[in-house]
Point group: D2
């Protein structure tokens, strides 16, 4: 009863696929379906279930991860953004994402979309009448997102602002949306966290009666508001966009450490998507034009281990039909099992070269040794019976273990 | 030759009247003329010459100092704001401020207007074609003023942005504008100082061939860019808006002290308008509804003395036809003469209760004792012959002098 | 095993008495004993057990809460501070706090002391030889506490620094110390949190084999290091010193809300002592000379409710033999029971006038309505059976409840 | 009369030699004399006249630029530091720097020393009686320098603190000191600028009757206190210590630009010593062990040009008897003449690769083109008759001029 019901909607950290890392702002219906098909066939049995269409699905001209400043957007007569039908043909005739959500649901999966905080700039320019008979200019706030020109914020002190968010969530719920990633809200760069709009979204979703998981972006979210986030959202971003560079992966260690105490069922601090496999098919972000992840195999295991210890969301960023060797890593049952079962995890120690985490489940104790330096490190196996979790190899008591550069050794004990 | 020519356009600190403190965003042509008439008749001989129409002259519905969010504005087909003809009838038929400027010039005065940094939001919404054939959406920057929703900034890295500012200054020069107060540019609150746009304005004005004095707002301008400002503008604001409270006046002392070294001919650091007399006729700012200044006479003398020692601009804020007893103060020839003649002034000492400034002219040495505490203070007259400048009274050597609470004693020596 | 053992030493949040609020830096042995006697007789059965001697017990001349700059201190030949025997006669002949600790233990209570981070200034001046044969000047760091001149920090990169802390904890353990409040370490004002010294203290205490509870001061501790604190300390301060003003009590609400997720067994975020009863007997802090708390009864209940919901330490600040009406409040079994039993608590909502917290125990659900405004507020009792916890009165379903100004209504439901 | 007299003591920016860059904290009397001899013989005629002994001359064991934490210092019975006689034999028998100053004066030069803000730590430990009968512990402030452990600050609100500074300056004046470089005062890292101690030094020097030039260190001084500095000191540092790296030299451009308006006779913003020639003879700073400057010839000319345009102090950092090819640069009469004669200089324009300064003297106009990029740049000579100042070559009107990488072309026009 005191428990927030929305936390039960994501009892374990969500897993799935998100279109941003591979297609930027430009994913199409066909690509979404192809990724959903792959997810259903190869990954669903491991817990992956969300298919999320990221930003600009309402912009007809979107063609990469570069935003078109002041672009015209697809919008209904209440100022709500709707899918661009040139990119999402099934959305024609006012169907919105209903047909695509149905396709995803029929695969036994869940469907998610990205939204930007606020009301479209063009709704304000046209001064459309919004839900409840308010006018866009009266409910809009004179604040913007600094990196995307599509929206104005909403002034939650005006009566129509909540009505607008309510109408937005009602529309998206009517389509069958299961997951909302709201952007420009957890750390808005110019204004910090938009708490009044987060609270408004929470309220609007709860009113729909549909268990829509709420994810907040971008980071870094301010941990001074960690308790607030726990009361209002299922996921929130811990850093700005994460890409496949060692510098960023290394930088995630202290961030994960500090947020670990805030993890609990239904509240999943989010270190962002997993930039694995065939990312950057049309996205041009990440500082390179390479169409595949630059992470080495040790780095991939490091990332997946850290995310698992944090019990973080697993959203795959690559084009799934092109999945390669990383398949074995993202479906490692032992590691996924640890991620599921641990109830406490924390950074035990950290030097410039070695970071140690520990965690506990009902049955096991886990220790991860991360080599964040540039030379191999040797650590020692426990005196008691143990195994290395990624490989499943049994360890001899006290045996020396080599931790490769940027890699990890993950030990499970009884 | 190395000297910036624009500095010769304001060889002494500008004096005049500005519509903001009395009429907020809503001044009308009739009110401007009435104030110009008064200025010409009663104040011109003391050096007052600028008549400045402050913000929102392009907004038909403006009626106080409260901004109407996302309001429709009067604009020409190149995206340049023009006077609202319901408020400025002489601007009809495309005359802009030409006729009003002519009226002011005929009085032997100069005419100024306020502008906001950037390009109107509605020019971007309509995507108008701007000077040189560019489109508004291509030259606009996705940045805004946080306290007024009328504009977007300009992206000076795009080729059409300078062309737009050039076209704007050309239009305003064609009207006969002598003074531009550009707002949201010296301290934009969200983004700091917009230096590239300041440089663009400097360039645009210089191209007009008309000696338009450039004043930058709001403050606090960052003194780390004081040298930059000296190279680009005639005036810049030292604080946010100044109103008639002792707290603000007291707060100006350290600010004036720190900027004093940056004063030189053509460069006039600006502590803002003088909120004297019949201010707040329709402006609702300043934290009160009182239609006259709350400054006591000692405070008025303190303000005028500090502004004079700083050689600061004197822009009267009250409705001039209602000028009362303050007339004697703002026309005190001795004080105005000191302001004109001193070439160095500085804060000599400052305690919690007493601030001392000194200054030097070719003929005289000046000392001001400001009582910033809440009890009368006694200071001593110089040993040498001297007089109190406000009263013109001769002082006996070493005589005790009472400095009233919040007041000043201003001493002139040979 | 993964669990930090030190957390088991404080399985519930410590309760007791601390000498600071009443005696400042000047408490004497007799006063400590008198307070311990009272605690044993009247409060032990409610869970109060710690008797803590606060700062400057090593300074012979200490006589209030004002520090004597560069004072001479009682110190042993290894540079460790020892009790001033003029104030603590039983410490003579090298007994340290052993006899006083024994006295407290004999009452069935526990004994605690305050220490300052680092090594005494005078040990550095004399360059004493510290534990392990190091010299004070080699292990000291050139950093200080800005509000107390007694110490230098320790340079944990030098080999002798840990040895010094080990020797310090060994000495204090040998006296029978059960609780250490280390100051100038959680927020050192000049340098932020001294994490390497916190880790050194953790290690030094663990080596003693004695379960000494570790409390870190002053605040505000930075929640970005909340996870670090959970791994190293039992208590840490959330704000700077807390006194009996409504401004400070009101300010604790958002702080408590943000730290609530970090509370767990053995980790007790600390909003500071309870300034109740006969405080300021010789302390001159808190902004008044009044020798009793200024908190009204509603404010006292508000404070105790908020501290209880946060499951915070309860350290009484007043001279206990002078305890008055507050006795009923600090021994309210129902409230203390809630504090003991709840496993989750959070701020549910907050406006400018009303703050609502909720919590849950195995058997009950709790709601607290805090009136932080200046007018009475009426809230509604639950529809289900409930009672007001402070009074024990049964509530009629949906009955209106008056929350007094600065007061609280605390409701328990099945 | 209003003019501060101390400004007349340094009517042009001081030039000379300082021991820090070559000998760190460890210079000896012999080395000082050898450098003074060279200065007198080879550089005096170009305006170089100050010989300055930098930090730790009171520390017997000083042997490089590394400080010895908590070292014992040579001190008189009033707590004033005096020369270590093992390093400065002529200081024996209480002569202090008198004999060395006399030696320097006899060469027609001036003598300077470095001091640290405050009172020695060991004077506080010993609680010596200071001038006027105060005790060190009463006048000391509990604040320190974070990078040198020798001193405590002075609490200027205590009556004896000014007396101490007065006694210190009196002693140093009695030795014949002409120049004081006071450290840990202009930007104290922990506490910002120590304005009350700066004012105390100003007062103490003025009382001596000796025209001792006052230089404040380290930087960056805060330009918000630029006016204050003008009223109290002759020189103040603009950055932290400057060494022979392009990164630091490049970084000086915006700093010089912003301080240029604060330059006036007697007030000389200071970009620090010139790390030319045989620096690092025993100093181990600057990030290398190389015993000579790493600056290329173009970089040396860039540095000297920028310093000259700023009319900055010229203090040579190398061991003068080892002076090499840089002699021609530091004695270029045309450049030194420009430095002497210009009355206004400013940064005219700055891009990522090209910085342009302009200046004016009675007879000439100067333009400097600095290439701060990594490729050669071509600029154009003026249309009017002109010459390149470093080389003295006459320029053909409009001829193309190559600015070498990191170098400068400095043009003089009539």
């Amino acid at each position: 009863m005191t428990e927030k019901e929305f936390r039960t909607w994501a009892p374990s950290a969500p897993m799935g696929w998100n279109s941003w890392d591979c297609f930027g702002a430009s994913v199409t219906e066909g690509e979404v379906k192809a990724n959903a098909d792959y997810l259903a066939k190869h990954l669903k049995q491991f817990g992956y279930q969300y298919v999320v269409v990221d930003i600009q699905w309402y912009e007809p001209q979107a063609n990469s991860s570069v935003y078109h400043q002041f672009a015209d957007l697809a919008m209904d007569d209440q100022g709500r953004l709707i899918p661009a039908t040139n990119r999402f043909p099934s959305a024609a005739e006012g169907h919105g994402f209903g047909p695509l959500a149905q396709y995803v649901h029929d695969l036994g999966l869940k469907f998610g979309i990205h939204i930007m905080r606020g009301i479209p700039r063009q709704a304000v320019a046209q001064n459309v009448t919004t839900a409840g008979g308010y006018s866009a200019r009266d409910i809009a706030a004179n604040n913007i997102c600094p990196w995307n020109s599509d929206m104005y914020g909403l002034d939650m002190s005006t009566p129509g602002a909540q009505a607008y968010y309510d109408s937005l969530m009602a529309l998206y719920a009517s389509w069958g949306v299961d997951f909302i990633k709201c952007d420009d809200i957890a750390d808005s760069k110019l204004y910090g966290m938009h708490r009044s709009e987060i609270a408004a979204l929470r309220s609007a979703i709860d009113k729909t009666g549909r268990p829509i998981v709420l994810s907040l972006s971008p980071g870094p979210a301010d941990i001074n508001y960690g308790a607030f986030l726990q009361e209002h959202a299922n996921m929130w971003r811990l850093t700005d966009d994460f890409w496949d560079t060692w510098r960023q992966l290394k930088g995630m260690f202290p961030v994960a450490a500090k947020w670990a105490p805030m993890v609990r069922a239904g509240n999943w601090p989010d270190p962002d998507m997993l930039p694995l496999g065939a990312i950057r098919q049309r996205s041009v972000d990440g500082g390179t034009k390479l169409p595949h992840t630059r992470f080495t195999v040790p780095e991939q295991k490091t990332m997946l281990t850290l995310w698992s210890l944090l019990r973080a969301p697993f959203f795959l960023g690559g084009d799934l039909p092109q999945t390669g060797d990383e398949l074995a890593l993202i479906t490692n049952q032992a590691v996924l099992g640890m991620r599921q079962d641990i109830t406490e995890a924390h950074e035990e120690a950290a030097t410039d070269t070695l970071v140690t985490w520990q965690a506990q489940s009902a049955a096991h104790h886990y220790t991860a040794y991360f080599n964040i330096g540039e030379d191999e490190i040797t650590v020692q196996a426990p005196a008691a019976p143990a195994s290395e979790l990624w490989d499943g190899t049994a360890l001899t008591p006290d045996q020396p273990l080599t931790v490769p550069v940027h890699g990890v050794v993950l030990i499970e004990q009884q």
